[in-house]
Amino acid sequence: MIVAKQKPIAEIKEMLRPYPKVLILGCGTCVKTCFAGGEDEAATLGAVLRLAFGQEGKSIKTEELTVERQCEDAFIQEAAQAVGRNQAVLSLACGAGVQAMARRFGKAVILPGVNTTFMGVLEKPGLFTEECSGCGDCELDTFGGICPVTRCSKRLMNGPCGGSKNGKCEISPDTDCAWQLIIDHMTALGQLEDLKRYIPAKDWRPSLSGGPRHLIREDHVI
């Protein structure tokens, strides 16, 4: 899923200051799952903002609505009327959702309410971890299902750096050394020998380095 984190209230407040009538638009898929922008978060955020502006002697009218996915036009359309009756939309979707909204409603002010952080998983209750950078050329088969592009702080493809200690990365004791995980996993699979192979310099063209990406599916073009 795409993992996001709600922006600090102070930052949201400053964004909304010129707009006393705001639609807080939740997104019911990824950001709901990571507790950043579903129905519950939209409702809570509305109440918090009303209170925060109230403390300043100012008022803000909020309307809350959540659509299934803001990254899909079919779902976005459900919000058209609510968008029309508000001065701005605080979208709690990821950056893709915010932009899809801005594209759909060209004359509406669409503001981001969350910081989109990464593509990841819920590793255990309360802990989301980044797993994929969308590099465009998946090599997980080479690394025992653990991605060095995303999970090694230096994107090393040929083994751990000198900063790996007790299974942890040099950047923080809270960060696992991806290479320790890769080596452990390949050992368990009996494939450690495969890690002796030289991995050539990665071709980054399929990644964001190659420019903004798009995907054309001829079989679906109408």
């Binding site: 040929n158 790996s164 200690k165 080596i183 890690l195 310099a201 990665k202």
Partner: protein
């Protein structure tokens, strides 16, 4: 390795000598005198001087510029190059430039992560890793081609180094990684500072067993400690460092100039031990802003005079 690399360090190592290199950190500023001063201190007592590349991710004068200052003094530099800050285009370009200016030794590194440095807000690059860099430099030298396969108009012919940390985890894989670096192009290895001798010996034994010491010149890292505080700092704050409790304890028993002497003593004892370990072909002294101690350390270790050929 092709034989047309002109490097004094290479001559010492291939000639069977016990090589001595030292590290010189460029200043946090544009003052070349800092390099001249360090260069003068080290001149004649080491075979070559490593110039760090924004070490610990702290912004400093570029390694390439500082190497040139050393060359002006007649000191042979080992240019360190990390893949953290430059992509393959910039790395190859700087290698060609460095060679055109007379730099003949290159140490290929990934680099400390920028989050540990002076400007953690920076975006890192890590387009390629240190093993890819070794491969690229070797291909330039031996095939005369850049990473795209383009035939270069005079290829840089570097004596190629890599770093290895025998104290990092996982131990069993450290030797595999060493083998990868050698296969990719490393002619010589400079290791992390050795304080934990048993672990270093174990790593060397594994490297010998794999036949790696026949393929590469391994130089062991030495850092003379100045105080118990420095030992503590290195134990807890420096990435990849292995500082045994016994060393900290030994340094804790002394203060001031006695501590400096004790640090020197530990370094000398370590050098003596290193010299008898099969496969150790030299030492690399990282004095960390105490370059004035290097001449005495090298002299006391019985490693003077250095050949000036």
């Amino acid at each position: 390795m092709k034989s047309d690399v002109q490097s004094r360090l290479k001559s010492v190592l291939t000639g069977g000598g016990f090589a001595v290199t030292a590290e010189c950190g460029p200043p946090r500023g544009a003052n070349a005198n800092v390099i001249y001063k360090k260069g003068e201190l080290l001149k004649g007592c080491v075979d070559a001087v490593n110039v760090t590349d924004n070490q610990t991710a702290v912004v400093r004068m570029s390694s390439l510029a500082a190497c040139l200052h050393l060359l002006e003094l007649g000191v042979e530099p080992v240019m360190q190059m990390v893949t953290r800050d430059r992509n393959r285009i910039a790395l190859q370009s700087d290698i060609m430039g460095a060679y055109s200016l007379g730099i003949r030794n290159l140490l290929c590194l990934s680099g400390d992560h920028q989050s540990l440095g002076s400007q953690p807000e920076a975006m890192n690059v890590f387009d390629i890793d240190s093993v890819n860099l070794l491969h690229a430099v070797r291909t330039m030298r031996d095939e005369g081609e850049d990473m795209s396969g383009f035939t270069l108009n005079d290829a840089p012919k570097m004596f190629i180094g890599a770093a290895e940390n025998p104290f990092a985890d996982p131990l069993a894989y450290r030797v595999v990684r060493l083998a990868k670096k050698i296969a990719a192009g490393a002619d010589f290895i400079q290791t992390q500072c050795v304080f934990n001798l048993p672990r270093f010996k174990e790593w060397m034994r594994m490297a010998c067993e794999e036949g790696l010491t026949e393929k590469v010149y391994i130089m062991a890292g030495i850092t003379p400690l100045k105080s118990a505080k420095m030992a503590q700092f290195m134990a807890t704050k420096v990435a990849g460092m292995d500082m045994p409790e016994s060393v900290i304890k030994r340094m804790s028993g002394v203060t001031g100039s006695a501590a400096v002497e004790e640090g020197q003593k530990i370094a000398l004892e370590t050098i003596a031990e290193l010299r008898i370990i099969p496969g150790v072909r030299g030492i690399h002294i990282m004095a960390i802003e105490a370059e004035e101690r290097v001449p005495e350390l090298v002299r006391a270790a019985g490693l003077l005079p250095r050949s000036q050929k």
